[in-house]
């Protein structure tokens, strides 16, 4: 990356974070961990395209510097603007979700493990897709288990992002400036003899457990 481009990426990133803070007053609630720069995998629920920028914006700058969202290549490489914002501003780890792209040259899990071995923290959405149902979470894909198994020292931090569906329902153009809260829970790890299904169920339970109780009708 050339220097002016790097500078532009930093500037756009700052602008996005400020905009998110101004519009939604996005707030981080560090329930289970301290906001320190330690290698972690933040796994979050996914309801909207605004999720990742929200989580990213609410992190303190020193954490944000080393965190890399894992995102879909087909989305972020669609046009030049996205290709700038995704890989350069957010420093995304791009993975191709399409099964036919999985060959010798592209193993999504290898990209992710490489990023971890670089010392980066990650933001992932283990549901794989945006949740359009009324259930709090879709069943998790196995990626979270695989990375927990392969790099057992890394903290897996459940990260619940509340209210984004109301801020930006699918199909609407104008975002509503409602308050968005991102809750970080206590880290979990894959236990030595834990099966994939047990672990994913436990991880999903830890994430749902962070959702604030909604008393509205």
């Amino acid at each position: 990356m050339s220097l002016p481009r790097k500078f532009a990426a930093r500037f756009v990133g700052l602008a996005i974070a400020l905009f998110a803070r101004f519009i939604t007053a996005v707030r981080a609630d560090w329930q289970g961990i301290e906001p320190i720069n330690k290698q972690r995998v933040y796994f979050a629920n996914h309801v909207s395209n605004a999720d990742m920028p929200m989580i990213w914006s609410c992190m303190p700058p020193n954490i944000r510097r080393d965190v890399r969202p894992v995102a879909a290549a087909d989305y972020w490489l669609k046009n030049k603007l996205r290709a700038f914002v995704g890989p350069e501003v957010f420093n995304c780890v791009l993975v191709d979700r399409r099964p036919e792209a999985r060959d010798a040259n592209h193993d999504p899990m290898q990209n992710i493990l490489d990023a971890l071995d670089d010392g980066s923290s990650l933001i992932i959405f283990p549901e794989g897709n945006r949740n359009m149902t009324d259930d709090p979470l879709l069943p998790f894909k196995s990626g979270l288990y695989n990375m927990g198994k392969a790099r057992p020292d890394v903290d897996l931090v459940p990260t619940w992002i509340a209210n984004v569906t109301e801020i930006m329902p699918k199909g609407e153009v104008i975002p509503l400036p409602l308050i968005c809260t991102v809750t970080f829970g206590a880290p979990i790890h894959v236990a030595t003899d834990e099966s994939k299904d047990d672990f994913l169920k436990r991880a999903s339970g830890a994430l749902v457990g962070l959702a604030p109780k909604d008393v509205r009708l």
Partner: protein, 314 residues
């Protein structure tokens, strides 16, 4: 420098003196603690005093900037309050456009009308036009699930955070014979000071001598604390009568009225928070919760203060 600006500066210096005393008081208490200990009450107190410093400086800058500054400041406070309020209300996707109009059209228009001094419009815009038109926007989207609850809560949010709040800067627009136009900013400072100091003293006396809770298990407010708070607000109002066109006794009565209205308003907000299961409206003002927590009594007092002023002195 005009005489009004000189008086604002005098006020600012007075309030800063008070805050300095409070800061020193807190620091002394903190210093008397043993090493490694921390008293949560003192820490909360100090966070609040720090927030007060920020509020006072911001508010003074707006006062010195004059009408425009005040209107912009309260428009932003309204925005933050509306955001806190609507975060907790019932809504469906069908309300999205109506809510967006509330934030981006109704709110700016209300403050524009106030800024232009169009009294015939800013006193009825939200309670009449918005009240009738916004539900139409929601209804057109065709989702009737909890419809009445949704539109009623949205309207309540707009009445409180936009309509009522805008009556603070609207005080600039009242014509009182013998009270120069540019002193309107002092009337605003008067309202906010007596209401907030009344609240503070209500809290202090409630802790000291309060026995009978007004609404047990909903709010810590007591009749004793409230009575002391209102009386103190009235005395302070009498001392600050030079800021107002009311005369000494008029100023004391208006201060007492505003302070009492504000305290009852605070109880209404306590009921809403309890219903929605939250302790504070948000986290935006360190130590105090949200903008609505900070301004609830002023919001309730402002329209009453405005209309009584208009009725008796206008």
């Amino acid at each position: 420098m005009t005489s009004t600006n000189t008086e604002i500066l005098g006020l600012f210096i007075g309030v800063c003196g008070l805050l300095t005393l409070l800061t020193i008081f807190g620091e002394v208490l903190r210093a008397r603690l043993d090493k490694g200990h921390e008293n949560p009450v003192i820490e909360t107190f100090m966070t609040r005093v720090r927030s007060w410093w920020a509020i006072v400086i911001l508010f003074t800058l707006a006062l010195i900037a004059g009408k425009g500054g005040i209107i912009v400041l309260f428009a932003f406070a309204s925005f933050a309050a509306l955001r806190e309020f609507l975060t907790l209300t019932n809504k469906r996707r069908a309300d999205h456009l109506a809510l967006a109009l509330g934030f981006f059209v109704v709110l700016p228009l209300q403050y524009l009308f106030v800024g232009l001094g169009w009294q015939a419009l800013y006193t009825v815009f939200v309670p009449v036009y918005v009240f009738l038109m916004l539900p139409v926007v929601s209804a057109l989207r065709g989702n009737s699930d909890r419809f009445l609850i949704r539109v009623a809560e949205t309207q309540w949010a707009l009445m409180i955070t936009v309509f009522c709040m805008s009556h603070v800067p609207a005080l600039l627009m009242i014509d009182v014979a013998g009270y120069p136009d540019d002193r309107g900013v002092l009337l605003i400072a008067f309202l906010i000071m007596v209401v907030q100091i009344g609240d503070l003293l209500d809290f202090f006396f409630g802790r000291r001598i309060g026995k009978t809770r007004i609404i047990p298990n909903l709010s810590a407010k007591t009749w004793e604390g409230m009575a002391c708070g209102v009386v103190c607000a009235a005395i302070i109002g009498g001392l600050l009568a030079w800021m107002t066109p009311f005369g000494i006794f008029g100023a004391a009565a208006m201060a007492g009225l505003a302070s009492a209205a504000g305290m009852f308003g605070n109880l209404v907000f306590a009921a809403i928070k309890a219903d929605r299961g939250v302790k504070d409206w948000s986290h935006l003002i360190p130590g105090q919760g949200g903008f609505v927590d900070q301004l609830d009594s002023v919001i309730f007092a402002a329209p009453i203060f405005y209309h009584v002023t208009q009725l008796i002195w206008g």
